[in-house]
Amino acid sequence: MGNEALIAVENVSFRYGETAILQDVSFGIVSGDFLALTGPNGSGKTTLIRIILGLLKPSRGTVSLLGKEIDQFREWNRIGYVPQKATNVDPLFPASVREIVAMGLLSQKPFPRFLKAADETRIDRALQQVGMESLKNRRIGELSGGQQQRVFIARAIVNTPDVLFLDEPTAGVDAETQARFYEMLSELNRRERLTIVLITHDFSILTKHINKVACLNQRLFFHGTHEEFCSSPVVQELLQGEHHLVCHRH
């Protein structure tokens, strides 16, 4: 894919009634990026991801995904998505880990979307990648928040997508689990060349793994490398009081 933009956001604005959520946002994401989309609460991060994925229509501007205008985009098997609060699972919901991961395969199946024997191998592989193969037959509601996250990542990567979107995947998860989780994402980014777009507030751990940052507060006021982000006075000023930046690599 080289440096060709996988995702191009051009002059995107979005309003809820009279309230402006996003204003004139433009940026691109290239293959292999591990991008953190960050900004204060209510800055429009989730809205932007939902617009990129076609879940919301922008009031103005265009989005293209893997070279196609979002309205014409059909290759959903190349996209993985872990929505916000994905782990708020009803504990009584009767779905096994295997069944959840199998959902991820539907985007590439013609109607009727029955699963085949070969799909089991793919499910097993995705679960292995996130270290959850031994819990394949467990009910999703019985797992911890961290384990559930891994299952949702497995669902998102079972198709071996080109891009993975995650919306605050570590909210409410303990620090140790978070660290392991980001390590796993980093591994997928390096080994599988998976492009990752991650909404997060969690700088202290992210600074170890990400290579790009986009900072949003209605407008995009920063888009660049991790190093540029850490040294940007604009960013430091904007995030003052909300976050403590720890910019170091191990």
Partner: protein, 272 residues
Amino acid sequence: MRGAMENFLTYAFMQRALLAGIGVSITCAILGVFLVLRRDAMIGHGLAHVTFGGVALGLLLSVAPLLVTLAVSVVSALGILKLKEKAGLYGDTAIGIVSSLGMALGILLVSLAGSFNVDLFGYLFGNVLAIDPEEVWLSLLLATGVLATTILFYQEFFFLTFDPESARTSGIRVRRLESLMAVLAAVTIVLGMKVVGLLLVSSLLVIPAAASLQVARSFKQALVYAALLAGGTTIGGLVISYRLDWPPSGTIVALSGLLFLLLFFLRKSRRP
């Protein structure tokens, strides 16, 4: 006991009741699992009220009430979805509006006609023992259609039920499927009407599904358990009602409720 059962099965009306009852209750239960998990269980209750208007209209026009009710129920189910989508109403508000209007239509038509109260009573409280052969075949045909559609769209319905937003980003046409599910719910409500009556029909959708969720460990298990519970309580309810001369609809629903309680306490006892 065995003689009594053989006797029970020799009656043609009982054979028809079993055939229609099992087919319809299994269909309701399977669709019910999706509806209960989507928090849409009350759509069954709402559509049941609407079908009262459909039945009254059918009887007034002297057209097969089952077909008129089917049409009214399907249109109402789609109307509820449109109200939610276009008017931005909460689901229960949309159901409340449509179901009240359906019920009001029924009351007006009954009042205008004033002559078919006995027939209407059968639809309200159900009388599966009085089901005629044509209705059995029509019920089984519709039940087969609903089941076949559910099997064909099983994976999509499952994804939609668990996580509608991610389903959309997997290329699943969520709105179309929601409409399809609403139509299937409308059809199953009409089917269940003959078995337990309009006032109890939503129980066929809700109780076996809710009972199966107490013990199922996977989605497929939930569907299988719901179907077994529904079939079992229909057979058991009919047998008990035959032996004790109880009304079949009430007996089937009461048995179903009892099984739900048993499974609920079983789950509670396993997980303190």
